[in-house]
């Protein structure tokens, strides 16, 4: 029972991280990243190969094998996903937008999947990586059963830290610029915003989150192979984001709780229907699809919609609503305050 509960807790917080990463890309900056699960996989694989010992004698084939401790390997896994995003962005993001970018990214996801599945020397091909050392298990003397609650708690702490940072970003001018670009690229550029540079930032931050989420996945299960990141998995993260409410971190948590924990993972723990073993599990994607359609139809802004930032939250003094200043003196004073130089 403890195993079941903490497995659900782990997936809740891990998908909270993944959804926050996709949110900064899609919910905030409007980048339709259909290759998101590819960045999760890069993070997972690199966290694995940074943690695993040298490949010789393990029966697996993989690069690196540096035997680095947790959380160094996890951070490097996140950075690897970020580097991959940087390369992708330099090629795709500079020229392409919206639908075209989405098509290129979904193609990239498929190519990456086939490549990792078939090129054995990289991440052990279709068998994937396994026997990845469990963080702190030896040092703390954790058994297989006690490791799961322990690591679910570690994931929760990591996700809260990442939530704190993400909230700062979204509340700050950076988040506002992302949303400005999402709403109207041309207007944002006319206001002096470097659209490519800002979208690149959003890609990098989001991919770091994807990489960390992936890294935690491989550390939790001890293994990771191509069945864990079929390209369609991207749409589960999109479902988390859309159901929860794009543009709101609390929405990401609610979405992760509802979609990932309750709809995807909980059914696996339900009793089987007599005579139809495993039938319930096959329904998870169909149920997610139906829920997604219902949300888009009845509540397109998601369960917890994007919050508006009100003037009072900037710490400015309130004033009376009044008539606009139309006299020359009033106008002059305001324009002068706006930094425009004096008349000549």
């Amino acid at each position: 029972m403890v195993y079941y509960v903490f497995t659900l807790v782990f997936f809740l917080f891990d998908y909270f991280i993944l959804a926050m990463g996709l949110n900064i890309q899609y919910g905030e900056a409007g980048i339709l990243n259909f290759a998101y699960i590819g960045f999760v996989a890069i993070g997972a694989y690199f966290t694995g190969v940074f943690s695993l010992p040298n490949g010789a004698g393990t029966g697996q084939h993989y690069i690196l094998g540096l035997g680095l401790p947790f959380p160094v390997n996890l951070l490097l896994g996140g950075l690897a996903a970020m580097c991959f995003a940087w390369i992708v962005a330099l090629i795709a993001l500079r020229r392409l937008r919206t639908d075209y970018l989405a098509i290129v990214l979904i193609s990239l996801s498929l190519v990456l999947y086939d490549f990792c599945n078939n090129y054995v020397s990289l991440f052990n091909g279709a068998d994937g990586l396994y026997n990845v050392p469990e963080p702190f298990a030896k040092a703390l003397g954790l058994s297989v059963n006690s490791f799961i609650p322990f690591f679910a708690c570690v994931t929760a702490v990591v996700s809260l830290l990442m939530w704190f940072v993400m909230s700062r970003v979204m509340r700050a001018p950076m988040g506002r610029t992302f949303r400005a670009i999402r709403d109207d690229e041309v207007a944002a550029a006319a206001l002096g915003k470097d659209v490519f540079r800002m979208q690149l930032k959003s890609m990098l931050i989001g991919s770091f989150y994807a990489g960390i989420g992936g890294g935690l996945l491989i550390q939790f299960g001890g293994s990771f192979n191509p069945t864990a990141w079929l390209p369609g998995e991207t749409f589960v993260v999109f479902a988390v984001l859309i159901v929860g409410g794009a543009g709101n971190n609390i929405g990401m948590f609610v979405g992760a709780l509802f979609v990932e924990t309750l709809l995807i993972h909980l059914p696996a723990f339900l009793p089987e229907i007599p005579g139809h073993p495993g039938l319930i599990e096959y329904f998870d994607n169909a149920v997610v699809g139906i829920v997604l359609m219902l949300v888009l139809w009845f509540r397109p802004q998601g369960v917890v919609p994007e919050r508006l930032r009100r003037a009072a939250s900037f710490g400015v003094r309130e004033r009376q609503d009044g008539d606009p200043a139309t006299d020359a003196a009033g106008l002059a004073a305001v324009h002068a305050a706006a930094g425009l130089r004096g008349g000549q």
């Binding site: 940072v165 700062r168 970003v169 700050a172 001018p173 950076m174 506002r176 610029t177 949303r179 400005a180 999402r182 709403d183 109207d184 041309v186 207007a187 944002a188 550029a189 006319a190 206001l191 002096g192 915003k193 470097d194 659209v195 800002m198 930032k201 931050i205 994007e306 508006l308 930032r309 009100r310 003037a311 900037f314 710490g315 400015v316 003094r317 004033r319 609503d321 009044g322 008539d323 606009p324 200043a325 139309t326 020359a328 009033g330 106008l331 002059a332 305001v334 324009h335 002068a336 305050a337 706006a338 930094g339 425009l340 130089r341 004096g342 008349g343 000549q344």
Partner: protein
Amino acid sequence: MSLRCEGITKAFQGVHAVNGASFDVPDDRITALIGPNGAGKTTVVNILSGAMTCDSGREFIGETEVTNWPSHKIARRGLMRTFQLSRELGGLTVLENMLVAPAHQAGDSLVNLLFRPALVREQEREHAERALELLETYGLYGQRDLRARELSGGQKKLLEIARAVMASPKILLLDEPMAGVNPALIERIGGYILELKQRGVTVLMIEHNLNVVEQICDYVIVLAEGRTLATGRLSELRENADVVKAYLGEVIDAGAPR
């Protein structure tokens, strides 16, 4: 700061929208860009502001050549613009629209966000104070917390101008700022533009309302078939047979064309 272009051309699938437009927009003056529909006025403004590249020709802001620079770089040189169809940032509040405008915001950097939050907060507060003052002036204070997409057409026009002013422009390109707004608001917008001129902002505005041009513009550029047909004061242009034929026509007697 002055704005100058020489021999700008732009063709769309072989059709010349702009075909050698050349003109000077004098320093600290309000200049009108007029011409018949399809003369290439908006295309010229799009090219000058970097939203479009030109096929040939040159553009200068002051002494610096900025031909085919991207929008954001031209904006950072101090050239701001508004659009014919308002391009408010619909999902942001009116106040947030204003706050996007200032250049060099500390909070656009992740390093500052994480390690210098006090600096970011203080700068945000200062910008918000300034933005609210401008909103008050432009009559949008009461709408500060509304999403910009919820504003009326006239309010969106005002927000676009206020947002451009928030960026402390040296040159302001206004694409039909009076289109579709009521007469009282036309007067108010005219007042704002005149005041900006007093503050040393160079204004280039596309305008069809000749009453407005007559009242607030110092100088007029007439564009026809993508070329500069004539430049000068409106009173002089009324005597120019080419201008009368191409654009003014019978509206001379009627005053405003609309």
